[in-house]
């Protein structure tokens, strides 16, 4: 499969402080990418490595896909400054996908910061499939995915793109209490379970966010026996599995398989399979 593409920038929208939603025209990626997968973008000629960005939205009809990113260093900065119409060298879609919820379990999507990006597409896909299955009938809103997002403060919270049409709820937690729950989103999850607002036996958690948050989330889920899938971030020289740079430690590893590649065997892992 050819994963080398040229993507043309369609639009750049500032959606938060140094946070941009960018839309690219690239029909192959638009049609084949699924939630959890990422594109590997070459920001410009001077960076040696590509930058990995989760697919945030797709429009297979228009042949576009969106990414959501925060300017951290040179790579994301030069990306954010591209002019409309600019052509960008992208590899992708790369990586695996979020696995479907086990039967009878509702998807709880727990994200921190820009970790929201793949979760938003996952919610969109899940809800879209529900609507399709309902064949015009009303859908059971209590089985819609629930999105729980954490941020440091209100200014850094960004509403996930176009989920309103499905009526998907977003619950917030901020470290300073400026929006939603006062505390981390993992704390909120725990309280919700304890208050029986969330039934561990009928939930499955999908997480994406900073590694310490994912570790806390996995621990919490383990204690409640909630299945938990996390999407991991790594510095990724290649993104397609040849450099062995982007590894995570496995729980069940043999001598050779102590480490799995996040770009190829992930980025989505069953939290029970890895060691943070």
């Amino acid at each position: 499969m050819n994963i080398t593409h040229t993507s043309r920038l369609v639009s750049t929208k500032a959606v938060g402080p140094a946070i941009y939603q960018q839309r690219f025209h690239q029909p192959t990626v638009a049609r084949s990418a699924h939630a959890g997968q990422f594109v590997h973008v070459l920001p410009d000629g001077h960076n040696l490595f590509r930058r990995a960005l989760s697919v945030y939205a797709t429009d297979p009809d228009k042949g576009t896909f969106d990414v959501l990113h925060q300017v951290l260093g040179e790579g994301t900065r030069s990306l954010s400054r591209l002019e409309k119409g600019a052509e960008v060298d992208t590899l992708g879609p790369l990586g695996n996908r979020f696995p479907a919820p086990p039967k009878g379990r509702r998807a709880i999507l727990v994200g921190g910061g820009l970790g929201m990006a793949p979760l938003r597409l996952w919610a969109y896909e899940l809800a879209g499939a529900m609507v399709k299955r309902a064949r015009g009938n009303e859908i059971d809103r209590k089985r819609l995915p629930l999105i729980m997002l954490g941020a440091r403060t209100k200014d850094l919270t960004t509403k996930p793109y176009k989920l309103g049409k499905f009526g998907i709820r977003v619950q917030w937690a901020t470290d300073d209490g400026s929006r939603g729950y006062h505390g981390t989103i993992v704390m909120r999850l725990r309280e919700d379970v304890e208050k029986e607002l969330l039934d561990p036996e009928r939930s499955v958690v999908y997480g994406c966010g900073p590694e310490p948050m994912m570790a806390a989330l996995a621990e919490e889920c383990e204690s409640f026996s909630i299945p938990c899938y996390v999407s991991l971030e790594r510095s990724m020289p290649c993104g397609f599995g040849v450099c062995m740079g982007c590894v995570v430690r496995r729980r069940d590893g043999s001598a050779y398989e102590t480490f799995s590649r996040v770009c190829r065997d992930g980025p989505v892992f069953n939290a029970a399979d890895i060691i943070f």
């Binding site: 040696l48 060298d89 020289p237 040849v242 062995m244 050779y256 480490f259």
Partner: protein, 309 residues
């Protein structure tokens, strides 16, 4: 009347009696064992696929973080993660046999015995066109010490030579004061070709965290930053030995490749550039072809060693 017909330059090269479609190969550790390259490109357009170093026993490699970007280069301390020779022969060789490209199998050991044993296991196996001895890995304990000792190299190559008929390529370290002496030792012990260079020992530091950027503190430096070091190494080696030399280090485009050939390399390997694109070696071969056409050189072998110095 159609457009003027010009014959595409001939990219074939022959090394140790083996013919290669192009002088542009992948470098060990940067194209796995071919699975991903096969998925994402047309391997028949590669000169050869050089596999990631395989050792006797499986190795886990070092923890994350294993890589970091540096000025025009990168550091790695992968630590030779590989599934060991038995699994390699069982699971990877069949693909290499099936793939429509030359395969160079790269082996690494802790001792001369290891290299000899590895070569024995691979001797006579279909799908191994050349054997590359990684005597130069900065990420194994004694990699640099042994690999910079000409007499150790001589012994190691001589040992391997007795157990295999497969042509031997000896891969050398640049972390030495005299890479030509290492090449001479390898040649005298029966090597069929030399490849150079492996990575330079390097390190990077988080200035905010006061910690090393690599889990193993130091790692190997590769990429465009080291191209000048690699060119000088090839320059010295080709003047010291008769056997062919395969140039490695920082090759990112067809002109880089041409520079190594001009200095005297018979072929080159592309490493870090593959991380930017699985198609890099194929693109580089095309750029080299375009360059040869512009220079009106009909065959790539006519470029080799053309340096006017």
């Amino acid at each position: 009347m159609g457009p003027k017909k010009t014959k595409a330059p001939d990219l074939h090269v022959t090394i140790a009696g083996v013919e290669f479609a192009t002088p542009i190969w992948t470098a060990s550790g940067t194209a796995g064992t071919g699975e991903e390259i096969e998925r994402h490109t047309d391997p028949s357009k590669l000169g050869a696929l050089v596999t990631k170093s395989v050792s006797l026993e499986p190795r886990p490699g070092h923890p994350y973080p294993r890589t970091c970007e540096t000025a025009s280069g990168m550091l790695n301390c992968i630590g030779l993660q590989n599934k060991g020779i038995d699994a390699f022969i069982a699971e990877e060789l069949p693909r290499l046999q099936r793939m429509k490209t030359r395969a160079v199998v790269n082996i690494v050991g802790n001792s001369i015995d290891d290299y000899v044993e590895l070569a024995k296991r691979l001797d006579g196996q279909d799908g191994v066109d050349l054997l590359e001895l990684n005597l130069s890995c900065p990420n194994v304990e004694k990699g640099i010490d042994q690999g910079s000792d000409p007499s150790w190299i001589g012994e190691c190559v001589a040992g391997v030579r007795t157990v295999t008929k497969t042509p031997l390529v000896v891969k050398l370290t640049p972390n030495t004061n005299n890479i030509a002496a290492l090449a001479v030792a390898a040649e005298q012990a029966g090597a069929d070709a030399i490849s150079a260079i492996n990575t330079l020992v390097g390190m990077a530091v988080h200035h905010w965290k006061l910690s090393p950027r690599l889990s193993n503190v130091t790692g190997g430096l590769s990429g465009p930053a080291i191209k000048p070091v690699a060119l000088a190494a090839v320059y010295k080696i080709v003047r010291a030995v008769e056997i062919p030399v395969i140039g490695i280090g920082g090759i990112a485009n067809g002109l880089d490749a041409a520079e190594f050939l001009i200095v005297g390399a018979s072929a080159v390997q592309v490493g870090t550039a593959i991380f930017r694109s699985p198609k890099a070696p194929i693109d580089i071969a095309q750029q080299l072809s375009d360059y040869l056409a512009q220079m009106e050189v009909e065959s790539v072998s006519n470029l080799v060693g053309r340096l006017e110095a």
